[in-house]
């Protein structure tokens, strides 16, 4: 007999019930598919729902458990994948019209690894077209909406994955993150998401946005769940030329370690500057909580931090325009207007702009590595604002000044993306309108374990991650 509503279970809780045969994969998958049928007309988190395939895999998972075989904590767990991740036999649109009929003949490495671990893929999630944007206002597959308030955006580009997890239509999802596309939707949907160190998780058979910055990773309700998914997908992949031959740590082992004595860095005139009041208040309160757990806060100057938005815009403009060069000349009308415009603009930079932006990344990384001699992690808000209305192209952060959404959204998440560092976003509160606030924790290269440790310790003494949107 299942304990509690299956929709409210975390991956860890569901795995315990599945292994103990108090819940079956069929029952759990059915609950998720029914939830999708109920709420997804409103939220549009999915582009494709794999209901028949999910039911079939769930039955196979159930037979294995009945026969005494369990593949691990993801066995029988319903998950969703962003629709730029190849799935064999299931169309993979990348949120576009151009790839609307593309059915891959093989899986992405991350999809294959999840399947081997027994996960059940319930669907492919909505996204900003070709991941080039942060709103998931998709002209081809519908506007994705925020489960906390469907009038607000879910951010992006992995907005569908964020909304799907928050709306309890899957227990975890994969997103992709180039300049913030996992962390931004994690923040505004009140869930956990990690951008890994570049090279830590394979990008093989994932439709690219910007080759030198792209990553894939999980989005979940708790840090512990994030670790369970991350452990399955992390590690060297010979098919990905950028994959790193670095051993995968025992991340679950890290979770038990205290944060007492941990050194937390704030970047002077940056970490808590130019943010909405509710965002600043929530992050300051979270820092107090970490101090209460024995962490020490230290302010560090990082003279080159400003310039990051231009560098990110330059690289994220030029690389996608190279990838899309042929389609822009043969199928321009098949792009949404915003993405088409960005792709056109990306062809108009000089080579020196691009190279100076790549040199800036070295400079920024050097300053971070210097900073990591004094602190173990850096903290910023994930976003300087909470979820804006769907369709907004401008945002007010301070005073009455309207700012361009694309630049404003990159304020904090672009920095670790440029420096190739891992960064975790986790929920740390709500604004007066009931919209979630996220905090970003940035770590040393390949030190995702410390980020998980900080996030898990925080979630042991707070309950933001246990709250659900009313849908």
């Amino acid at each position: 007999m299942a304990q509690g509503d299956p929709l409210d279970l975390t991956i860890i809780e569901a795995a315990a019930q599945l292994e103990g045969r108090r819940l079956s994969p069929v029952e759990l998958t059915e609950a998720m598919l029914q939830r999708i049928a109920k709420v997804d007309k409103q939220i549009r988190a999915y582009i494709t729902v794999c209901d028949a395939q999910a039911r079939e895999v769930a039955r196979a998972a159930e037979r294995m458990i009945q026969a005494g075989y369990c593949l691990g904590p993801l066995h029988g767990i319903p998950v969703a994948l962003k629709d730029n991740i190849y799935t064999r036999g299931v169309r993979t649109t990348a949120g576009s019209k151009i790839l609307s009929d593309f059915v891959p003949s093989e899986d992405a490495t991350v999809a294959a690894r999840l399947k081997r671990a027994g996960a059940i893929i319930v669907g492919k999630t909505n996204m900003h077209e070709f991941a080039w944007g942060g709103t998931t206002d998709n002209p081809h597959h519908g506007t994705c909406r925020n489960p906390w308030n469907p009038e607000r955006f879910p951010a992006g580009s992995s907005g569908g994955s964020g909304a799907a997890v928050a709306a309890r239509t899957c227990l975890g999802a994969l997103g992709t993150d180039t300049g913030g596309s996992i962390r931004l939707p994690s923040s505004v949907n009140g869930i956990v998401g990690i951008r890994p160190t570049i090279g830590r998780v394979s990008n093989y058979n994932v439709v690219p946005l910007a080759w030198t910055m792209d990553t894939v990773s999980p989005m979940t309700r708790t840090v512990e769940d994030c670790v369970v998914m991350f452990e399955v997908i992390a590690g060297y992949d010979p098919f990905d030329e950028h994959s790193a031959q670095v051993p995968v740590a025992d991340y679950r082992g890290e979770l038990g370690r205290p944060v007492h004595g941990l050194r937390v860095g704030l970047i002077r005139d940056y970490s808590l500057t130019h943010v909405q009041k509710a965002v600043g208040d929530a992050v300051r309160a979270a820092l107090k909580t970490l101090e209460g757990l024995g962490a020490r806060i230290e302010e560090i100057a990082m003279p080159s931090i400003h310039g990051n938005i231009s560098a990110q815009l330059t690289i994220e403009s030029c690389e996608p325009s190279a990838y899309h060069q042929q389609w822009l000349r043969t199928r321009a009308a098949d792009y949404g207007e915003d993405v088409r415009t960005l792709l056109e603009l990306g062809e108009m930079y000089l080579a020196t702009h691009y190279i100076q932006a790549q040199r800036y990344r070295s400079l920024l990384r050097k300053e971070f590595l210097e900073g990591f001699k004094r602190v173990d992690v850096f903290v910023t808000p994930t976003l300087p604002f909470t979820a804006t209305p769907c369709g907004a192209t401008e945002v007010v952060i301070e005073g009455n000044r309207k700012e361009d959404m694309l630049s404003a959204i990159m304020q904090f998440t672009g920095v670790p993306s440029l420096a190739g560092l891992p960064a975790l976003s986790l929920p740390v509160g709500f604004d007066p309108d009931g919209l979630p606030v996220g905090m970003q924790v940035i770590g040393r290269p390949f030190d995702e374990g410390t980020l998980f440790r900080v996030g898990h310790a925080y979630q042991q003494v707070t309950d933001w991650h246990t709250r659900s949107p009313r849908l």
Binding site: G307, L313, E344, M348, Y349, R359, R361, L363, P445
Partner: protein
């Protein structure tokens, strides 16, 4: 292009020709203000990175495994 030159319709036309990107006049006009903002910011970053203090810095296209 000088960094303080405004981006004009002619600038966009020239860049389109260089890129062999055929865009109609309406689209070219639409790109002008956006490109002006992006190029101004990119030029500012370029000036910073071209400074003597940063001359030894290499571009990073692939991250080291450490």
């Amino acid at each position: 292009m000088k960094s303080d030159d405004p981006v004009t319709k002619e600038t966009v036309e020239r860049l389109c020709a260089q890129a062999d990107l055929p865009l109609g006049p309406e689209r070219r006009t639409r790109l002008v203000p956006m490109l002006a903002g992006l190029i101004a910011a990119a030029n500012e970053l370029s000036r910073k990175m071209a400074a003597a203090a940063h001359q030894s810095i290499l571009p990073i296209l692939r991250f080291p495994e450490r």
